[in-house]
């Protein structure tokens, strides 16, 4: 317990002034007093009550104190002399415990009572403590005041029980948590940040900037666990020893910092009967429901908003002082901006960057410099900005945002920043490029100057692609693509030829570019691709996300973690969505062979879940229709119990291997086509592909399995196996091309695996084998498989390697409860008249 300290002010003539009592000796309370004194120093006799036994300091600078960049003295705002000189009575360390509004008196913990004519509540906010078991152990701290900082410093000093580096776990990856983590890490602790959401600082940052921040913090040695849900804090002898996450992971800890958020401190106001919702309700003059009581700062709720940042406090204090000195002005709410105070990391966010209608995103990424900038424009006004890596223009954007200035004149150059956008004639990006000298370097990767590019264009390169292939400009990382396009436009005017189609509107890169760069630059996550390849949208679109997810899955088998939210519905739900929103379910039947047990299980499912239809498909399977998403896991559990797995009838993946009965039964059969079909299906099931992939094996050239309109078809003949590729039914029927003929089943299997892998590695997403072969030519495919002697072996080995991670029945995992939320409703609403 802190002993009360008194800094009694100079004697003042009693009775001549109104008595102003301030509860809260923090930034808001003191600033309000300063503002009042600046307007009318003689009006009030001021008494300030503070819970902490010290003068007012700059709370937002606690992070630099923790990090050792500043001392407490550096961050004091109002010294003892200030209170004295202004005749303010400071009661520090004796918190107010009650307000008697009738008698207009406040009562402090020591019993002291203080009468007021005007009362100002500036109690700020309290850190939110997650009520998990162990939250009250010694060593679990918040990050709110100097005492917290001192506890953290003591823990860093002490180290681990075994004498090693102290271990800190910070719960909460928001602004405050990351600043605490940074400070503790500079103080020599081994720091782990546990954040519930998948993106750090998700309220201020979008996914792209959050990813960059996480990568940088990890590079600095912190461990960042996003999606980490704290289950329990463990202790020994009353002191914390570890944090256990709900997924079972245990993180050893000598200190745990809870920085999950703050709540307005409204207890006093509520007990005194003032109107309180989330915060203490105030009007535009910071007056509460009692005209004699004002409130300001983080404890208030103004026009529905509560603020946790410092800038709004200043605006509120001005409005409050204007009102308290008889010249009311009114506070209209604040637009806030955020800067992370972690040295060496430049990060800025302001306004609304959630995009939406009429809002246009302008995104600039510079992978080489680690820069991501995004501004959001709506109705010719800037409404939001997120900057990472280069925040020099943060204040300029914030100014444009607050003033709501029309930016249509500088729109084109807005993203390049103030220096560029204010450059008059230079505001046109083409003009800016025209103004560059001939020896200015455009492509940093390949060292190509403007002069060299213009020369290449004059010599006949009239598309981006031609420039890329002839002088290599923009052929590597692509960050200069915009500049090269400007040079093409400047040099050729309307004669510029458009290049091959890009993946989607989010990028100028083609599918081939993206696939090559993923491997070359070892890109391993979607946000990383978006950053490194300068995507123009913050989080891609419904076209590019699934493509990138597939390309990563193909490039890094066993390492890449599938991104469910980038999957089309059918692949996310492992069933086929139908027009009424229900799903159809197709269990796998290897080679189209079934059994009484399988058929019984299917029949049971049809009856149990009241499926309105069950139908034989073109691929020799049974399709159960009309299953609701909630029932899917139970249906799968029943089918699994009978030994059946997912048929992948819903995926860009191996669908079915269709067979005829072959030599075992048919009088014309030349080979065991059913047996081979089953073997091929066992080898290929579960693999993800650029598009759906169908296989068939026919036992003789009569071709009853229709192998010549499949992606891969086997036609058995007396002397062996003819292998066909690139066929499909569909809108435009294409018969297969003959790829080769082999003598044994084993060879047929190898070529099948190799062909699939070549297609998986080279085709564009959503390109079936037929258009792929039409585009690249059968000779290209043959060359890829047969020109080097061991190409088939190597491709097949890569396919089989990948398959060991894929042949894991997704239905079994869902039936066991994985991703249960995808199948469950949030809740059900039953209006009163429907409650029986």
């Amino acid at each position: 317990m802190n002993a009360p300290m008194s800094f009694e002010g100079a004697a003042r003539p009693a009775g001549t002034r109104e008595r102003l009592v301030v509860i809260g000796n923090g930034m808001a309370g003191c600033r309000a007093v300063e503002e009042i004194l600046a307007r009318d120093p003689a009006r009030y006799a001021v008494t300030i009550f503070g819970a902490e036994p010290r003068v007012n300091y700059n709370r937002i600078m606690l992070s630099p104190v923790l990090a050792g960049e500043k001392t407490f003295d550096d961050i004091v705002i109002n010294t003892a002399a200030w209170y004295q000189d202004n005749g303010i009575a400071l009661v520090a360390g004796d918190p107010v415990v009650a307000i008697d509004r009738e008698k207009q008196v406040v009562i402090a913990q020591s019993g002291r009572s203080e009468p007021y004519d005007r009362l100002l509540i500036a109690t700020g906010s309290d850190p939110f403590i997650i009520p998990v078991p162990g939250h009250d152990l010694a060593g679990v701290v918040t990050f709110r005041d100097l005492d917290d900082v001192e506890r953290m410093l003591a823990a860093a000093e002490k180290g681990a029980p075994d004498g090693g580096k102290g271990r800190a776990v910070v719960i909460g990856g928001g602004l405050l948590g990351l600043e605490a983590a940074h400070g503790l890490s500079l103080r020599g602790m081994q720091v782990t940040v546990v954040h519930l959401m998948p993106t750090l600082m998700e309220r201020q940052l979008d996914e792209a900037a959050g990813w960059l921040l996480k990568a940088e913090l990890e590079r600095r040695g912190q461990t960042i666990l996003t999606g980490g849900d704290t289950g329990e804090i463990l202790g020994e002898g009353g002191h914390v020893t570890a944090v256990r996450l709900k997924d079972g992971r245990e993180l050893p800890a000598d200190i745990v910092v809870m920085a999950v958020g703050i709540r307005p401190a409204t207890g006093l106001a509520k007990a005194a009967g003032l109107d309180v919702e989330r915060g203490i309700l105030v009007d535009d003059h910071m007056v509460t429901s009692d005209p004699a009581v004002l409130a300001v700062g983080e404890c208030v709720q103004h026009r529905g908003a509560c603020y946790g940042l410092v800038a709004p406090l200043w605006d509120m204090c001005r409005a409050l002082a204007d009102h308290a000195t008889g010249a009311p002005s009114g506070y209209a709410g604040s637009v806030t901006s955020t800067k992370l105070k972690v040295s060496g990391i430049d990060l800025f966010s302001a306004g609304d960057f959630s995009g939406g209608d009429g809002a246009e995103d302008i995104v600039m990424r510079d992978a080489a410099r680690g820069v991501y900038k995004r501004v959001v424009v709506k109705e010719n006004r800037l409404v939001g900005a997120v900057l990472y890596g280069d925040t020099a223009d943060g204040s300029w954007y914030f100014d444009l945002l607050k003033k709501g200035e029309d930016i249509s004149d500088i729109r084109e150059a807005l993203i390049f920043g103030q220096a560029f956008a204010s450059g008059g004639a230079l505001a046109d990006p083409n003009a800016a490029v025209a103004a560059l000298s001939d020896d200015a370097e455009i492509c940093g990767c390949n060292g190509v100057s403007k002069g060299a590019i213009v020369q290449t264009i004059r010599e006949g390169a009239c598309s981006l692609d031609a420039v890329r292939s002839q002088c290599k400009a923009s052929a590597s990382c692509g960050s200069c693509t915009g500049l090269v396009e400007s040079l093409l436009a400047l040099t050729l005017g309307d004669d510029v030829q458009s290049g091959p189609k890009s993946v989607c509107k989010c990028t100028s890169f083609t599918h081939d570019d993206v696939r090559r760069l993923i491997v070359e630059k070892e890109l391993r996550a979607i946000p990383q691709i978006l950053q490194e390849l300068h995507w123009t949208t913050p989080d891609g679109c419904a076209s590019c996300r699934p493509a990138l997810n597939y390309y990563l899955l193909c490039a890094w088998p066993g390492e890449y973690e599938d991104d469910q939210k980038s999957r089309f519905v059918n692949e996310r739900m492992h069933a086929n969505i139908q027009k009424d929103g229900t799903y159809s379910v197709v269990p796998r039947m290897w080679g189209g062979i079934t059994s009484p047990k399988d058929l019984r299980a299917i029949a049971d499912v049809v009856e149990k879940y009241d499926a309105p239809m069950v139908k034989v498909t073109g691929g020799q399977r049974l399709d159960i229709f009309g299953i609701r998403k909630e029932d899917l896991p139970a249906v799968w559990a029943d089918l699994n119990a009978a030994g059946m797995v997912s048929g992948h009838a819903y995926g860009k993946s191996l669908r079915t291997v269709k067979t005829c009965v072959g030599s075992e039964w048919c009088r014309f059969g030349t080979q065991d086509s059913t047996g081979l079909g089953v073997k091929i299906e066992r080898m290929t099931w579960g693999s993800w592909m650029p598009h759906k992939f169908k296989i068939a094996v026919s036992g003789c050239p009569r071709n009853c399995a229709e192998a010549t309109i499949k992606d891969f078809g086997v036609v058995c003949v007396d002397s062996g196996y003819e292998l066909h590729v690139g066929g499909n039914g569909g809108i435009k029927v294409r018969a297969t091309d003959l790829l080769c003929k082999v003598a044994t089943e084993a060879e047929a299997m190898d070529v099948c695996a190799a062909f699939i892998q070549l297609y998986r590695e080279q085709a564009h997403y959503l390109e079936r084998t037929a258009p792929w072969i039409e585009r690249v030519g059968l000779d290209h495919v043959k060359a890829g498989l047969f020109d080097t002697p061991d190409a088939v072996t190597r491709l097949a080995a890569r396919f089989r390697h990948s398959q060991q991670f894929m042949q894991d029945d997704p239905w079994a995992k869902r039936a066991a409860g994985e991703d249960a939320e995808l199948h469950q409703h949030l809740a059900e609403v039953r209006p009163l008249e429907f409650v029986s």
């Binding site: 309220r203 996914e207 939406g356 939210k565 519905v569 969505i577 409703h825 949030l826 809740a827 609403v829």
Partner: protein, 113 residues
């Protein structure tokens, strides 16, 4: 005021980039979206085109792409974007102290006759 809002539970029930559903007895099912930016929106779970379940679409920016025919629907206004025309009702939503609230009238008022 509080009585007008329907508490449908904590924000962490919906991972960013995903949506969950809320059936309404005697009314239209609602889809609640969590964007990658961290914002929440609620729409009637039926595309204006052919009533596809929007909750099952891919979410990007403040847009959801309908799983049936790839219409892009604004989460903010419910309007179809691009060349497509149509609009699905939005349900006013607010997030307070980590919980999601829907405007009660908008939820139960949307009852089939």
């Amino acid at each position: 005021m509080i009585g007008n809002w329907l508490d449908i539970g904590p924000v962490d029930q919906i991972a960013p980039g995903n949506a969950r559903t809320l059936p309404v007895r005697g009314g239209a099912e609602i889809a609640v979206f969590h964007t990658l930016d961290g914002n929440f929106y609620a729409l009637v779970n039926a595309c204006p085109h052919k009533q596809g379940p929007l909750s099952q679409g891919i979410v990007h920016g403040t847009v959801v792409t309908c799983p049936l025919h790839n219409w892009n629907i604004s989460l903010k206004t419910g309007e179809a974007l691009g060349d497509d025309k149509g609009c699905v009702p939005t349900i006013p939503l607010k997030v307070d102290a980590g919980r999601i609230y829907l405007l009660r009238e908008a939820v139960v008022g949307r009852r089939a006759a």
